[in-house]
Amino acid sequence: MQVAGFQILNGLVYGMLLFLLSAGLSLIFGLMRVLNLAHGSFYMLGAFIGLALLGWTGNYWLALLVAPLLVALLGALIEVLFLRPLYRREHGGHLDQMLLTVGFIFVFADIVRSIWGADVLGLPTPELLTGAVSFLGVFMPKYRVFIIALGLALGIALWLVIEHSGIGTKLRAGVDDADMAAGLGINVSRMFTWTFALGVGLAALAGVAAGPMLGVNVGMDVEILIVTLIVVVIGGMGSLKGALLASVLIGEADTFGKVYLPEATMFLIYLVMLGVLLFRPTGLFGLRHQ
């Protein structure tokens, strides 16, 4: 029983990290129909910029706040300068967008490697969260409990914004039908920029948050990208609810798989994806119309 409780919490920690990443990726795709394959790179950039800010100011919380903002700004610039010219192309320029974002994976990896080198670096755990708590016999580092809380808090905040605010209403309108939304006077173009910035900002936040647990290194970008893509496919493109549910599902499946079915862990994630897609081809909460 203690082992099960321990694993449920571990699965939640992993799930929350995946949620921060997949929520952004899913929103970007849902609204803009842009599959941002460089999403993992923004996660990595967030971690490295967070590390630099931490070294500079010595304050983890500042790094956790400012690094995502800087990356969001970078994301906005990239959307305006590089992605925007592609929307008008044939078929929405999907192939061109993919190639562009794949290109950014290499560009960012090389930039990071030239600045910080290829070694794996450690992001120190903030002093407030070192140590562990014991709850009902389950032992858990404080920092991991914080990750769960952070993920849930951001999930609620995102839900409130998207479901219960003016901006959110416009965003959902854009997701449903961008042309119609534009016809109703919504500045869809600006909405795209905001969404892209928000999405990659969330990825960067996940990067800073993951740093103290997983370390910071070139290669963390591609590692996380594949699982994130699987989560988005399972949850359904463009659905926040789907991203949350699928993240937790994959987090738990992966964690429990490692203990009870160690030989089949990698396979298990794909099995979950296969199962979901067989019965719901657009994912758990994916849009029905395309």
């Binding site: 321990f6 920690v13 070694d119 120190p124 562990a132 032992f139 290194n217 963390m220 490692k258």
Partner: protein
Amino acid sequence: MPNHRYCRLFWALALIVGCGGTVWAQGEIKVGLLYSTSGIYAGPSKQGIEGATLAFEEAGNQIGGRKIVLIVEDDEAKPDVALAKAKKLVESDRVQVLMGVIWSPNAMALRPYLHERKAPLVLSEAAVRPITQEAGSPYIFRTSFASGQMTHPFGNYACSKLGYKKIVVIAFDSVFGREEGDFFESGCKQAGGAVVEKIYPPVETADFAPYFARIQQANPDAVWALWSGAAALRFVKQYSDFGLKQKYPLLGFGPLTDEFILKAAGPAAQGVISYYHYSPAIDSADNKRFVEAYRKRFGSEPGVFSSGGYLAARVIIEGAKAVQGDFSDTGRFLAALKAVQFDAPGGKFRFDAHQNAIHNLYIRKVQPGPGGPLVNMPIDVLKDIEQYWPKGKPAK
């Protein structure tokens, strides 16, 4: 026309420089460095190349008046890429000797080609066992070690001298990881201990927490771990975060507590016991000279891979010196390599009859060094460890 004259003069000059260049190029000694400079072995590869660079610079970048030129290629830790890059180095760059190779499957992929082509390779890392045993080749030398060479004696040491009787093995899932796990177990069994559980997570594991539950269920005396690069940092840090380090002492293979990991993990690594044929904290004149020179040149602490690259390069240098930089007779060069002996940072270096290095095995404990930061302090040393252990006999 003055213009034409200048033109002719220019061409004449170019021809002279060009020809001169070619003559000079034939005088160069070209060494191909095959490392995985991208991917999870990027950090270790950088260290290896730095170690080799230092050795060649110490030799004045020349042997017998011939200039040494290093050509680095990235094998991406993929066997097919390694083979293609080795062919490029041998056939198009015409290197006299190759060195490097971290990823074991790459070493195996290169073996038939190098053997056929009669191209010498000094393996600086890959530990794949057969390549200096049943699949040996006169063209392949190894300055690192065969799998089991260090882990089998250490398994015995852990279950006798260190006194642990129940041990959990956690190593990355690869031929090397599993083989080392078996070697540890057989060494431990010899000393009357037992491995109660073996866990083999994937090489690129990010989060070890799920596996910690299995360690807790097994409730061992100690845990033996085999990880390197980014995964090693994660493992050491998470193992400490979850409070396991206090309950189950952590033992591990050298790269687990490599110098860059000590720097990144900090107190999480303190107290970990590891073993390797090297540590920058070895108290010897040869080592101090090496560490000082490395620090001065690269501004960082040399790790196990730095010393690996340095060793392989030194072997090439000593071998080339013995033939006065003349590679025209490959047989002579190979014989010179076989006979190479010198005082390395980790102690006296030499090959066994199968062209695999004989090492001192240092048992090291992570603790604050004289200067303050954590170091791998040697607490014991097992002398003259060969690939077949106990001496002369196959380990299995």
